[in-house]
Symmetry: C2
Subunit: 408 residues, 2 copies
Amino acid sequence: MTSRDAIGQRSETVRRANLSAIVRELHLHGPQSRSELVLRTGLTRSAIRGLIGELVAADLVAEERSAPAGTPGRPSPLVRPRSEEAVVLALETNVDSLAVAIVGLGGAIHRLDRADRPRAHVDATEVVADLLALARPALDEVRRSEALVGIGVAVAGIVRRSDGVVRHAPNLGWRDVPLGDMLADALALDAPLWVANEADLGGLAENRRGAAVDVEDVVYVMGEVGVGGNVTIGGAPLVGGAGYAAEVGHMVVNPDGQACACGSRGCWETEIGERAILLRAGRDFEGGREAMRELVEAAARGEEAARAALEEVATWLGIGLATLVNVFNPSLVVLGGVFERIHPLVGATVERVLTERSLPASREQLRVVPGRLGEDAPILGAAELAFEELLSDPAARIRPRELAVAGG
Amino acid sequence: MTSRDAIGQRSETVRRANLSAIVRELHLHGPQSRSELVLRTGLTRSAIRGLIGELVAADLVAEERSAPAGTPGRPSPLVRPRSEEAVVLALETNVDSLAVAIVGLGGAIHRLDRADRPRAHVDATEVVADLLALARPALDEVRRSEALVGIGVAVAGIVRRSDGVVRHAPNLGWRDVPLGDMLADALALDAPLWVANEADLGGLAENRRGAAVDVEDVVYVMGEVGVGGNVTIGGAPLVGGAGYAAEVGHMVVNPDGQACACGSRGCWETEIGERAILLRAGRDFEGGREAMRELVEAAARGEEAARAALEEVATWLGIGLATLVNVFNPSLVVLGGVFERIHPLVGATVERVLTERSLPASREQLRVVPGRLGEDAPILGAAELAFEELLSDPAARIRPRELAVAGG
DNA sequence: AAATATTTGGGCACGAGGAGCACAAATCCC
DNA sequence: GGGATTTGTGCTCCTCGTGCCCAAATATTT
């Protein structure tokens, strides 16, 4: 019941919500004039003025003369999110690569370092150490500026949102690894840290910065070593009771199919995961990313076996998507990871199967598109996750400063 | 993006939200003392007093002496939703029955009339006429009291929420029937009318009044002639872009399975729908409700063929549920309709299959229970749907009255 | 070049609405 | 019956958005 802890509202709540709306708007849609913000929020000029004033005082935004618009009237100053004054640190632990990024308010990518990693079941302590080494320059930068507002971590596994424990990451060989605590200790930064699944975050990134911007209801499916996904409902990501939602890779699509590492059989992942794709093409199923790249290239060249394998994959992709479309009635399906790369080759097949298998009503407004962010989707999503606290309550960052001033 | 039309908040918004929280709390959890409301909302006594005063003036709630509590301190008056002063009309159009109910604020069922209907593809105009005839006594009652705040309609078909058009109801033989407009015209009542799918509403009812009260994340699956469902996420029902979400009956669970009326094949409905169940048991698959009742009784008596058939159904039920559990990570699965009735016989099998097929993390906190509302779930959900407008903005009902007073 | 129209920012009084405090009322316990 | 406890009542205060007037800055017209 929403009302259950729908704690009573007070005047302060209104302020918080309005500040949040403005910062979020600027973060997601870029610099805007004050008068545009008046239109978007429906607030009065007076109210906007006060709110912007508060945000300027907190160094979250800056006002500057806007370019001449060619229209009569006093020009409205441009309000710009201060990308240097509020930044997040984003980390990614994938099966075959590590990455570190610093992203500023408004979405500017200040730096992004990626390092390949041999594919193997690796001890979590080693991974944390490797990540820390890769992150050193970024950490120096972050420590100098004092602008850090949050840390986001993307990991290829099932993550308990509440405490950042990786419950199970078959492709890393992890089980119940307290990655959140380990990284928080190792980084020793004074900022909240959140961990989430890479596919969840990939979907978040596509929704904020990629192919699904401003779309309210989205299904995102990403193929890497495993198959993961994310669902956006009314603009908000589906999280589930404990944060494990949208594990679409383990939907049962073929009850008599192959055994899956999860213990079930015929999971979507056993039909369209990386191993399954390589197997269908008669290639080394442990060939990893390189083998996949060659397969896609071969198919693009028109090589028959490769094309046929991808067609089969597309069929199973369509079947699983039909289930998701009937369950979520989204207006957009975004394909990420491997599926993003093979979309030009097999998009038509996916859509055909989807049309055969989903309810006419459910697919009425539906489009299927490839993602736009490529391999960076998860880490950009981790950045967005880290910004979430600031976006939903910018006032929390403002008050302490005021106190500090009052105290000094 | 939630923020997109997150129109700015104003002081009035706070009042609205607080009134809504109180009325919703009373509607869902029954009469409570003022001081309990203070605890629940976190508002001050002063604020609660003002809010309750407004609701009393609007006749939505009444205050009365509470029973002696045995504790020291001045007794806090009991605040009670006025079940007679705010009522909704609920209607149901099922494949083999029609029903009409009047439900009061707080959930009291003032009357409930149900009439069986021969199973046949029936013209929508006839159904509306039959429903109107059945509703006559209820309509008289509603017209006398002037307390009607909304009308809710449950229908066994896919419904566009925005305008109440039944896009497709295979078991009624309807396609693009403007049921909302037809009923609004026929009833000629001065209250908003909403139409929704019966399974969606069954889930809503179980969440508000039945087996899933106060559970935030719930998957509800209902078997009638077709198979439908509803998903509650964070306390709010999943609706989808156009309102067609949670069409779980057409998840693809068996890609090589039987053709389904929807045009796909191997839909969940073709494995666990009424026809499929009767076929598995070697009975007349057009025997309808009566045949189902006999089958369940036979299985309860221990008749082998019947038991075996239900076991098969339970297996497929578990397979489909595994997909839903992996996708939604709910804390509760509620089985409604036929599945509610067979739960005592096959619940163990369902849970076994579910355990085999779903991710350990996803099913950690999971329980599977039968519904508690039986065949009345959909119409009770229709009542809840009709109350929604009042609950989310009680002030809208208050203001006009004040105006009327001011004008007179 | 000057006057006018248009749009927007700034200042300030107002109103809505919850918080907080002092006090009174109603109950239980000794 | 007196004290402790809890809660309702009346009142002022604080927060925050609204609304109005005026000034500032730009485009257009004369």
